[in-house]
Symmetry: D2
Subunit: 392 residues, 4 copies
């Protein structure tokens, strides 16, 4: 149970690149990082491509004006000069800038927490992985939905064999907010997402399905994809070649099969993320829209609903419980758990606590690499005509 008491000796000095007033994502980072003021404190930022707006925004958040910078280069340089300078920076900018900012941050000696998808290519991720190792720094990736406590319950149930052999994996992350191109025309945040130069090789595969794919790996750490097939479409033609809808079929090494549906044109859908894992004995199912409930269905027995916060849940789940039974948690707690896991990884790195690092479950650069590879494999299949490709 988390109650705000510190899990690391002192809060990390934390800053942001991007995440300013106009977008929605910055607030999620801050809600996560600053949840209890015992893991991070916000000390510096380059919030906005418009420096004046970013400065005004930062002041309103309580950041000292002299530590609100025009851009990340200026911030990394100036903070490196301070005794109380930044230790870790979060990157919440369009995809196309992640690589260069991460590289600069690591070279400035900072730990990095970056939005997904991490970079455009897995080669870039591998290169940065080497750099991070050399610098002994953590690169965390904000698969922000993956911190819901019941996902850890699902992991415990799967890995303990409660479901039997895993046979079928059914994944979904869809919504309908891009059913028309109205948003593409008015929203800066949407415009870059359908521009390959900024977004990279995919839209919904990167923007949505990397979350869901990571969550599936979190729940089923032993399951490896052998081959997959991806069929993607651009129902709004101006988005081509980037897809606004995609369906992936997967064959896992153990003989299981899977499917993932990612879409931003699923008109009217508000139950966006769903995960169903079917085993030979039982299934579990979870949806992001009711994150405090887990369905557990044993064939031939009454269906069960497990509720967050209850003492019958696994310790690994209740370790991240915050509000208690009957009291709903939402996306903010999920982000808080992600940020806390990464803070513990950073702290362990600083302390040289390799045993903790070996057991700690958090979205690090391997999870970032997996996400980029996921996209690469999907795009490779789709671009060959939705054919089966070996998962590389």
């Amino acid at each position: 149970m988390l109650n705000g008491e510190r899990l690391i000796a002192r809060p990390l000095r934390w800053g942001m690149v991007g995440g300013g007033r106009l977008g929605q994502v910055g607030y999620k980072h801050r809600s996560g990082a600053l949840r209890d003021n015992t893991a991070y404190q916000l000390v510096a930022a380059a919030f906005d491509i418009d420096p004046q707006r970013g400065r005004s925004f930062g002041v309103n958040l309580g950041v000292s004006e002299e530590r609100l910078y025009d851009n990340y280069q200026a911030m990394f340089a100036a903070e490196a000069e301070r005794a109380d300078g930044l230790e870790v920076v979060s990157i919440a900018t369009p995809n196309g800038t992640h690589y260069e900012i991460t590289k600069a941050a690591l070279n400035a000696g900072l730990h990095v927490i970056c939005e997904k998808p991490l970079f455009f290519t897995s080669a870039e991720v591998v290169e940065i992985r080497e750099l991070a190792r050399a610098k002994n720094r953590i690169v965390g990736v904000t698969y922000g939905f993956s911190g819901h406590p019941l996902l850890m319950q699902m992991r415990a149930m799967v890995t303990s064999g409660l479901l039997g052999d895993i046979r079928i994996v059914d994944l979904q992350y869809t919504h309908g907010f891009n059913a028309t191109d109205a948003v593409d025309k008015i929203s800066d945040a949407q415009k870059w997402r359908v521009d390959p130069k900024v977004a990279g090789p995919s839209f919904v595969l990167g923007d949505l399905s990397t979350h869901t794919f990571y969550m599936s790996q979190l729940i089923m750490p032993h399951m490896k994809i052998r081959e997959l097939l991806c069929d993607r479409q651009s129902f709004i033609p101006s988005r081509a070649p980037l897809e606004d809808n995609a369906r992936v079929l997967m064959h896992y090494e153990n003989g299981a099969v899977g499917t993932l549906w990612a879409s931003s044109v699923n008109a009217g859908c508000m139950d966006s993320q769903k995960i169903r894992i079917v085993g030979s004995r039982a299934s579990i199912e979870w949806t992001d829209s009711r994150p405090s409930e887990l369905r557990y269905e044993v064939q031939g027995e009454p269906r069960q609903i497990l509720d967050r916060g209850m003492s019958y849940l696994d310790d690994i789940c209740n370790a991240e419980e915050r509000m208690g039974a009957l009291h709903t948690e939402g996306l903010a707690e999920s982000w808080a758990n992600i940020y806390l896991r990464i803070a513990r990884a950073i702290d362990a790195t600083s302390r040289g606590d390799t045993s903790l690092l070996e057991t700690l479950v958090y979205p690090g650069i391997e999870a970032g690499l997996d996400g980029v590879r996921w996209i690469e494999n999907c795009v490779r299949s789709a671009d060959q005509g939705a054919v089966w490709v070996d998962f590389e």
Copy 2:
């Protein structure tokens, strides 16, 4: 609104082949056919492969003992001699016998109502279609779930353009009752379903997905599949080559995409059938487990739930309303509607009412042909390694 009053001049004299005491399906046929005693009356049967058991059963249903026959051959022969003989026969036997019994029935001058999947091959269906035309007889197919009134509401909403252009079709018919092979060993009804000699080229594709595929055609009569890909598995190895799980991807001629999941190893699943149709403006979604509710989701507006029996529904839907608002209907009403539609087709055929036949929506031999073709295309794709095949 249906209240039992006759829609045809007098009830048809009806009999059954199969559907005896040991199986579950016969009661569904009788619940459908005999709902109001104004469309059919049960006058003869060859209920069982065990004649004595079939006779005992028929007596308990109130059929005259002299019209309870040892087999269909005897029944067709004897009934042909009677002035009050059979007019229409339902076939509720294992798949492998459908073709020969249908042929014999047509040759005996009977209308036929047959279980799905109709026959093993589309060539057989085409042959029988010719025979039925020559004999001026109806062959109806009991896609028994397709009579739920809200499906007609969905048809009205789709065809009137309320959803915009159809983009995505998501279909599911799954359960978990075959998650282990326990049932295969003890149940005669299950044994033949996984024996290719009796079941034909598929298990769940034929047994489950033909229902769902027909329902999708009913709702979207204008949508044609251009190509599909089917990936099927036998999680219980003894079922191979017949599948207990299958996933189909579809490309429609209008650019829409679809998917269908059929499974009998979806452990613990009790929400078996789901249909979601996504248009450019709105989506509709229905599940067989709550058949009196239809979700209607317009992007950017509050989600809506339409309830069976309400006056705001389309006339085509309320024409088959029976119990009234607030009062649940279930699978029996769906079967009753199917049987009533077929009775009206038979009656129109007898009366030479071609104009009614042209507008009446009912599962006739074309629907049976579509179902067999569906299986053939799926199996052809699956057997080539889950590749895209043109829909033939």
Copy 3:
């Protein structure tokens, strides 16, 4: 499991008074009585206050024209002369006529199945109970919702002590179809319901809550009300003194408390009937709008949903299973079970099978008496200003 095979030697010769073309309730009676043609056959009727319309209706249902009568008096007289005359008659007329028609039917030697509420006063019921005993005839009451199989499951769970001591009973039967007085003005079926001369001393208490009260007794046969308090309103003033909304508080003899909400002005409500029984260990909850699901909630354990048709249910529940797991049942099956229970009671009476009569659970005249007493106690409390009154 019911599959249509006879449970009594031959179908009872059955007729109706009322239940004609214009109302909705007649079809429910026929759907129940004629479900499998092995419990009842419809041989005569006086369907309508308009004899011509009633005759036309009956012909359309397949009743012989000579047995379609102008009124119940004519029917009882003529049928008494026939060797194949009526044995049992259902009364589906406005409340104010139940008493006289029941009396006439019993005096004509018929068994009776009557709509609820049975009569206006408990004194009338007691008088008729004596007559029925003297004539050795059954008077059944169509609490038509009470035949859902899961109610018997609830009874089994309660009486076996699975819930612990019963502490709280929460009952509801509400809808919103009378939220305005529009229906009062146009519908004959609604007009009489708010006319005390025809409806009796209550509207929703009689029309709705007698169902729910009977269901609570069915589930908890050992629970007796010690005192109650009823607060009733007429939100549409023209309905006064009859209520369109009522709330009842109950104190049971064992110390449990209960509440019942009956309303026809619960605007927009489509989940009309709910029953929750709270014990010291666990609760069960059921709603008529999802009649195939039963919630079972053990404090401190995962919530459970029990599904109709599953083998883990009690035998008493599965004895009335018809469609099988995964296959929804609705209100028609509930009526069919009620009619079948009453048919068995009639048959046992005819055979003098007192041991069956002692164990058979069916809504007989005692259940009818309980319903009328329920109304009397509620009205007595309400008319004194919503005060506590001893349950008499």
Copy 4:
């Protein structure tokens, strides 16, 4: 839309009395107060009746050790000496201490935020109200569930007349965690709740229903109770005279009727809080367990579900939106909104901004008085034998 930017000039210097490591409620206060670090900063506390434990806890939260006090008296005295001393204090101690701590805090010149129920008697609240006025200080009350944004949507819908005339109010706050007395024996937090000397004149009426009652007032500010009746029980006898279950009936001045069910013995219930408001045209319904969904049911139209974060919602609702559509919020956001409303009231008081104070909706001392009066009226009715009493 809230994104963390300051709504007041600088964060208030905030402290706590109670809310230490062993209880659950303190974390909710801190999650609310410290959400964005722009409304409050935690500078001092007397967290625990065990000073050493409280000090250790405070250090772990990042509070300076010298500002962690042994008790509230010491804190108020010492902080008054500091230039950067406390401005506002939250009281999260057992009920019986609220009055004296609030009085001391006001006398020390502090604003106060106090747990519900505020005090034991309304006379005490009236006295403190005078003191607060004299000192020009705010007393806020943490009805922590009342900050869910959709409650403001409900208020907008009710006050705009969208539902028509309000007729029926149905309120519920129940759970089953006290179904047995196991918790009473082991939990300090539960022990005092059933001890009248510490808890005051009620258990669940104060602990649970004051939340729900305040929420009903928030939604329907114009609705006044004319009379009520309360029936309460102690199903665990050792809790008597304090109730673990209560049912209240209400008559409103406009002719509407209401009911409220409060219980901690509703075994297995996890959908704890429900509010349904029935108008002459439509109803709205909300449950705390799915706080991002609002049901809106217009009689005769499809049922609607309104989702938090959507642009069709009222501005008053979206003004407190944080996470955005599709992204769940939970109880923490509700607390954050409550704390932010109170911070704005404190800031307006300091600035002498009476016009803001007149329009700002927040749970101040009048809301606290209403809650205590609610309990007094309920207890007065219950102790007279569950009779109707005028609401005073």
